[in-house]
Amino acid sequence: MYPENFRYTKEHEWISVEGDIGTVGITDHAQKELGDIVYVDLPKTGAAVEKMKVMGSVESVKAVSELFSPVSGEVVEANAALAEAPEKLNLDPHGEAWLVKIRFSHPEELKDLMTAAEYQEYIGA
């Protein structure tokens, strides 16, 4: 369920690293807690993001939930498909419905994130 090669935040984002680019999304636990997702607000390409600062939001029918960046860096791509089809976040949060790709500036920040095992313990899974 929670890929071993991802790292996780306490705010329920995941990041998957390839070179100096991290792909970021929300966890399956997060989409389940939110329920039907109807809106996604993502930072634009080129935007600077900071570790554990708000970079956007996800809204379900019932609630607004802020998105936190797991690392500091620059957004190199946002998943444009989610604007038209936010419900994909309920269907494939660890895959097709990734949120942004970030070129991270401080690789050491990754060490502060949880492993899959730690995250599952954190959410009581």
Binding site: G35, D36, V38, Y39, D41, S57, E59, S60, V61, K62, V64, A83
Partner: protein, 350 residues
């Protein structure tokens, strides 16, 4: 059941079972069922029960026939809402009130304080569970569980009979904008009736529904929620509920304040709006007119049956008519919206 529960005024309430959208659509297209046992019940009995009801509540209960219900309001002396309620006339000397869960103790004390007619005012909530069966297939579902002629119960009327062999008050009322029924039964019978209704409605695709769908459904139908559209600081004239205030019936508690407000002019009004820009208005967000802060969102969110993001807000009277351009502050960004006629959703007449 897989329900996600929240604490709601001390009650463990399901926000959703299968998902808010699925539950919402089930009610609009087929049938859904809500456990609304948290709602309060107050019974008023005595030869002068009508006098107390008509003094305490704004609508005119003298117009009710036995077996008929009406939407009404309890007001403070200053004209603000104590609560919005349903008044059912059970007998000439007996009225049954359905009130909001969070207000029930306050309502009971309020009614007792106004009771100069020596009526019996009973806090009856512990004696009742409430199940709402709502949607175009609600009647077919409930018909399997009762011998009461449901087709003969008109909108906002009720009948006392049996459901699954248990005594039940069957009211053709609801909080969804659809046809449907609200059942008042003794709590010990409720689980059995719930299960039986789930089976009875299975062929129609019945879904158990939580508070989440209840809120999207009532918002589309522009039905007020206490603490949002109405509260102690809002009068019925501001809330678009002048139709439940009957000035021709004589005195009632709060009347003087409403008379004065009518004379000096109502300054703000509840308006419906649709989002035009990208963003969803939520409860409490601020509303701008021509760049200046003008009001606030009382309820906002997606309207699943319209595929739009909508909301209700208070605006200065002159800005509250339909077709006006407004902005909603979404996380400090003004997002374009336009006021529209309400209700947002109206079911097709059968």
């Amino acid at each position: 059941m897989g329900a996600r529960m929240v604490d709601f005024g001390g009650w463990d309430m399901p926000v959703q079972y299968s998902g808010i959208l699925e539950e919402h659509h089930a009610v609009r297209r087929a049938v859904g069922m809500f456990d609304v046992s948290h709602m309060g019940e107050i019974e008023i009995r005595g030869p002068e029960a009508l006098q107390l009801v008509n003094y305490a509540a704004t609508n005119d209960a003298s117009r009710l026939s036995i077996g008929q219900a009406q939407y009404s309001a309890l007001l403070y002396e200053h004209g603000g809402f104590v609560d919005d309620i349903l008044v059912h006339k059970v007998a000439p000397d007996h009225f049954f009130l359905c009130v909001n869960a969070a207000n029930q103790e306050k309502d009971f004390e309020h009614l007792r304080s106004l009771n100069r007619w020596d009526c019996e005012v009973e806090f009856a909530s512990p004696r009742y569970a409430q199940i709402a069966i709502q949607g175009p297939r609600a009647q077919e579902t409930l018909a399997k569980l009762t011998s009461v002629d449901l087709a003969a119960i008109r909108y906002y009327w009720f009948a006392d009979g049996e459901v699954c062999g248990a005594p039940a008050r069957i009211a053709r009322t609801g909080y969804t904008g659809e046809d449907g029924f609200e059942l008042y039964v003794a709590p010990q019978h409720a689980p059995r009736i719930w299960d039986a209704a789930l089976s009875a409605g299975e062929e129609f695709g019945i879904k158990p529904c939580g508070l989440g769908a209840r809120n999207t459904l009532r918002l589309e139908a522009k039905m007020a929620l206490y603490g949002h559209e109405i509260d102690a600081t809002i009068t019925p004239l501001e809330a678009g509920l002048a139709w439940i205030v009957k000035f021709d019936k004589g005195d009632f508690h709060g009347r003087a304040a409403l008379d004065k407000q009518k004379a000096t002019g109502v300054r703000r009004a509840l308006a419906g709006f649709e989002m035009r820009g990208r963003g969803i208005a939520r409860d409490g967000y601020e509303v701008l007119v021509e760049g200046a802060l003008a009001g606030w969102v009382t309820s906002g969110g997606p309207a699943p049956s319209l595929n739009k993001n909508v909301g209700l807000c208070y605006l200065p009277l002159e800005a509250a008519s339909a077709g006006r351009s407004i902005q909603v502050l979404v996380r400090n960004q003004p997002v374009e919206a336009v006021t529209v006629p309400t209700p947002f959703y109206k079911r097709a007449k059968a």
